[in-house]
Symmetry: C2
C-alpha cells in the first residue's frame, strides 16, 4: 500500500493486524508459506513480484514475529523462512478468504482443494472437516490440484503443487 502503511487513528485490532499483513503481496507470501515455500527464490518465482518488495515483506514479517528466518546451510550461507506459531494462527483467515474468492470471484472452479489428511474428506468453507466435525490445523491438511489449476506454469512451486502435498512441509529440493 502506498504512502503510509499504517492506520494510526484506528483503535482496533484489525488495524494493527493490517499494518502487519495488509500490504500488497503479504497475504500471498503467507499463503505460499503455508503451502510449504521456504526459500527466497521459490517465493520469487511463484509470486512474480519484484525482488525488492519480497525482501521488504519477508523482513517485515520476520520483524513482526509472523515468520522466522533460519539458517539451514553455512557454506554456502542459505536461509529459509518459516511460519511461527503466531503466523500459523493466520491459517483460518487465509483459507476462508481463499474460499470466499473461489465462491464469488473465480467462476467457481477451484484452483486447489484441501482435504483432511487423516480421513481424506474435503474441508468445508470454514476449514473444518465434515467427518471429524472440528477445525483442522494446517499440519493435518493436504492440498491437491483442483479443476481450475493453471497447467502452463513451470516454476518449482507450481510444479510441486501439481501433486498432493501436506501443508507446512517443505516443497522438495
Amino acid at each position: 500500500m502506498a504512502l503510509g502503511k499504517d492506520y494510526p487513528g484506528q483503535d482496533c485490532g484489525l488495524a494493527r493486524a493490517l499494518e502487519v499483513i495488509g500490504e500488497r503481496w503479504t497475504m500471498l507470501v503467507l499463503r505460499d508459506a503455508f503451502y510449504g515455500v521456504r526459500r527466497f527464490g521459490d517465493f520469487l518465482a511463484h509470486l512474480e513480484l519484484p525482488r525488492a518488495v519480497l525482501a521488504d515483506r519477508l523482513a517485515a514479517l520476520v520483524d513482526a514475529g509472523v515468520l522466522e528466518k533460519r539458517r539451514y546451510s553455512d557454506a554456502p550461507p542459505r536461509d529459509e523462512y518459516l511460519l511461527t506459531a503466531v503466523g500459523r494462527e493466520l491459517w483460518p483467515m487465509v483459507y476462508m478468504l481463499g474460499q470466499w474468492g473461489n465462491r464469488h470471484l473465480s467462476g467457481s472452479r477451484p484452483f486447489r482443494v484441501f482435504h483432511h489428511s487423516t480421513c481424506g474428506r474435503r474441508l468445508d468453507r470454514t476449514g473444518s472437516c465434515p467427518a471429524c466435525d472440528r477445525a483442522v490445523p494446517p499440519t493435518e491438511i493436504e492440498i491437491r490440484p483442483g479443476p481450475g489449476a493453471d497447467p502452463t506454469r513451470t516454476d518449482p512451486v507450481s510444479v510441486a503443487l501439481r501433486t498432493p502435498h501436506r501443508l507446512l512441509t517443505p516443497l522438495s529440493t
Copy 2:
C-alpha cells in the same frame, strides 16, 4: 496498493479476493460497515482517510457486489452503503483478523468486545459463542466498548460505539 492492484499470475481464490478487499483501507471500510456505518460522511470521519480514496473504495466494493448503494432520500439525494449477502460472508475473516491483532499486536487490551446478543456470552476467538457452541452470524452480535477504547475521539461513529450496539444496525442519526 500502488501500481497494479491485482495479481494476474496467481491462479488462486485468495488472489482474486485480495484484488477486491486487499487494497489499503478496504478492510477497515468493511469493518465499519459491519459496525453499522452506512453513510459517506460517517466512514470519512471515523476512518480519517482521503475523500477520494473512500469514494474509490466504495465504488469498487459496490462494483464487486460486496456493498450495495441504496438511495434513502430523494430530496436531498442521499445514498447509503449496505453490505450484501456476499459481503456479510466476510464477517468471520474481519472478526478473526481483529482478534489476532488484539492478541499479538495490541498489548492485549481489546478496544471492543463482542457478545452473543441472545445469550450475552462473549464470543471466542473464532467468532463462536461458547455457550451456544456455534458460529454466531453478525446479526446476533452486540459490540461493546473494551478497556482499550480511545475516549478522546469525537466523530459520530466513535461516540455511538461507546454504547453497546448490534452489528449491521444503523448508527442513529
